[in-house]
Symmetry: C2
Subunit: 237 residues, 2 copies
């Protein structure tokens, strides 16, 4: 936007930067094949993600103390292994499967787009993923973050205001100097209300072929793009 | 060390990774030349660093609430401008000079050593510098951190135990899986007492030609090297 002096881009990660659903389905199917377990792994992946918001809501609401996403994912996984009748995995095997979230693959445009954007802007995560998850993912997927920040460093899950505000403060920037980049209109509404710039990156298959939400920008966001490479072009990077 | 499964290296930054003294002297001399101000800039640089530990000690002791290093540096700078009779800088000019700490230059072996080490280990800062300072420095000096962590993300200054323990926890690792890398025996004593591995990198001119302390390893550290490239070789990276 002309006249705005953006210094940093803050990225939602799951869905915006990485294709969590395909990656998780792939890891679940591999576990099923390896151990000879039959289950509806696509439904399992969607159910795992389905427990994501409810599990964080317990923390946001104060019902339970701070808990990092790895631990919430683990609790959900144990619940679903039981629900889907998947038995016989050792504790170490369950732990490794839980770390599938550390090994998510990027969208095809992600790495090229981030590398272009990084020439002009500071790039930081602003994810509900915990630091270890994001660091391991970045090494797996070659994501060139300048800083891995978000819920764990803010000790507050999105979309609560402190998750955004503390992340900007950690970068020594005002909200107005930062652009929240997300495939979710909800993230952008929360960020915009606090003064952040906004960039919507459309990911119409994040939730699979029948995705209903976030198929288009729902507001007059500062930037709208279909990929991170297109965003880089629109942001002059 | 044979038998140890180190996953991450945690770096002290000022002195170990970057040559703060030469960089700060250079920035101060440039300000002096630009504004036609005469002062003993070498003594000024040493005095600025001299106020570093006392200023953090006020936070460590609980005398004052959490305060990021940029703000402590700024207070010290204002004190020293007065003490050295340096007048006439605007607030913005003082702010910019304070950000000299964001623009410190690496030692000659630093970038090559870090890039080698990163092939095998997760690299994170464990510095008393705040996140913005470290992020800006990394972009200035091409430091390939996987994560920028330390006092600000732990909300606790080294060498208090929580600064080390929270940083390992952010990486999802036990202390035994991490090696503290520092040019200061004191940092390594504190880390070793908590179970961390230890690497001493000798920087005999960090404090100038007359340096008295930290000229050699004072204990049986896991690794001892004269540069980060030598450390990479000794750690098999």
């Amino acid at each position: 936007m002309p006249g705005k002096d953006f210094r940093a881009l803050l990225f939602d990660v799951f869905g915006t930067v990485v294709d969590w659903r395909s990656s998780i389905i792939h890891e679940l199917e591999a576990v099923g094949a390896h151990f000879g377990i039959d289950a509806d792994w696509v439904a399992f992946a969607d159910a795992w993600r389905g427990l994501y918001q409810p599990s964080m809501e317990q923390v946001r609401s104060g019902q339970r103390p701070w808990c990092k996403l790895d631990d919430l994912h683990h609790e959900s996984l144990v619940t679903l292994l039981e629900r889907f009748g998947v038995h016989g995995l050792t504790g170490a095997q369950v732990d490794d499967l839980n770390r599938a979230w550390h090994r998510l693959d990027p969208w095809p445009d992600t790495v090229a787009g981030l590398n272009r954007l990084r020439r002009k802007y500071i790039l930081a995560t602003l994810s509900n993923g915990n630091v270890a998850l994001l660091v391991n993912m970045a090494r797996h997927a070659n994501l060139p973050w300048d800083a891995v920040l978000g819920a764990e460093t803010a000790r507050c899950y999105k979309p609560l205001p402190e998750s955004f505000l503390r992340t900007a403060d950690h970068l020594g920037l005002d909200p107005e100097q930062c652009v929240m980049v997300a495939a979710h209109n909800q993230d952008l509404h929360a960020a915009h209300a606090l003064g952040f710039g906004t960039a919507f990156v459309c990911r119409p298959t994040e939730y699979g072929p029948d995705q209903q939400a976030d198929l288009e920008a729902e507001s007059d966001w500062d930037f709208v793009a279909d990929s991170l490479t297109e965003l880089a072009a629109k942001m002059g990077a």
